[in-house]
Subunit: 229 residues, 2 copies
Amino acid sequence: MSLTLFADSIANYVPLAKGERQLIEGLPHITRSVARRREAIRRGSTPEYLYVVLEGWAGRYGLRSDGSRRLTGFLLPGDFCGIHAVCHKPMDHAILAFTKCNFALVEQKYIDALVAEAPIIGQALWNAKLRDEIRLRTWLLNSDDSLRVYAHLICELHERQRLPAEGSSAFALPLTQEDIGDALGITAVHTNRIMRKLREAGLIAHKRGILTITDISNLREVAHFNPSP
Amino acid sequence: MSLTLFADSIANYVPLAKGERQLIEGLPHITRSVARRREAIRRGSTPEYLYVVLEGWAGRYGLRSDGSRRLTGFLLPGDFCGIHAVCHKPMDHAILAFTKCNFALVEQKYIDALVAEAPIIGQALWNAKLRDEIRLRTWLLNSDDSLRVYAHLICELHERQRLPAEGSSAFALPLTQEDIGDALGITAVHTNRIMRKLREAGLIAHKRGILTITDISNLREVAHFNPSP
DNA sequence: CGCCCTTTTGAAGAAAATCAAGGGCAGTGG
DNA sequence: CCACTGCCCTTGATTTTCTTCAAAAGGGCG
């Protein structure tokens, strides 16, 4: 339970020298555990730390006035959130732990010092934010076709876990159909029907929290998915 | 046709000292004019400059495989794009000029120098990017109700032009119903019907490219709009 | 076992897309 | 000056997609 995955995630954006990696892994931090289905960061709060996911799945979401929820992104181990602290702005959305999560909480001043010492890491943080933005744009772009947006979400989650893009691969997907629907912008009932289509097309299987992609290339076809755009 | 509006836009995020404002307005740049309905930046290209809108309306968009278009944001005078250059990443979307546009093209190195000299401006650029992200999340959040998302777009554009939030106000909206539909994720025909609802409710009027908001407070009610979130 | 949460399926209704046809208005050219 | 043309707006009718409401079936866990 260390910052190794965070360093890996940064290394995805920029090449890291050994010393730079050590700087990241040596960041002073405290850890915070958030129980399954609990809110990690509230909307409207101004987090004093950068939150790095060490373990578990979390997500960003907003609430509508009728109480319904919209997920706008997922946080996997190694991902971070709460960069709002940099801007001293309150969160426009909240962070929910889908599973029990462990976060590393890093004080802003240590991030500042890190970036001052290794500017390339600052660039990586920019890149990571831009990647978030790209994902949001992609969700919007695909939002006219729920089958496509669903297939695309699975491809996205598959790629973000750095699983092999050949043959079949399986991973834990700790989301209910309601969660997925909230991410796709459709109801749980409709999510179920969409899921069935993909299952009957022989592209995926989803049992007991394990999602198996049985035909990744056709799934990517359906999703119009471009690997790491 | 100077960088004054850009400085104003920056000043929206952080307080600017006189000297800092002069640094911005004195940024070396060339200008580029893009004709109405032409592409300013192509998807896949890696812009070598930061593009600042001096005059005109532009927008970000992506194309689907069936040729349909999705707008994911608007660029008004003072706004910038092409920050991708910072990351040496190709554009994941394209920029379209809705009207004839004039852009200021600023070389990356001058932005770097500016930020080095006045770090607070770097923070403002972050803030502006985060604002883009917030808008994307808001579009997603509202996307389940086309009347609300339409009303919200008008509120957004109204606020971004810093028009008074009382009484009625009018501004040039150089978009066709097809453009608006592409921004809302609905068809032009449906956009027309939604627009009629707002008109018949006495909230807006739209004639000859001029949009008049006749009842801003009720429009914001319908839109669930929060001023500058 | 019984309970709760989730998944699955059906049927009816609402929302939006699609298809199709007019209508208004500005610009162009005879 | 007027007819023509092209673009956009408007409206109607039909079909598809998605939601809503409802109910039953599965699965994990005390």
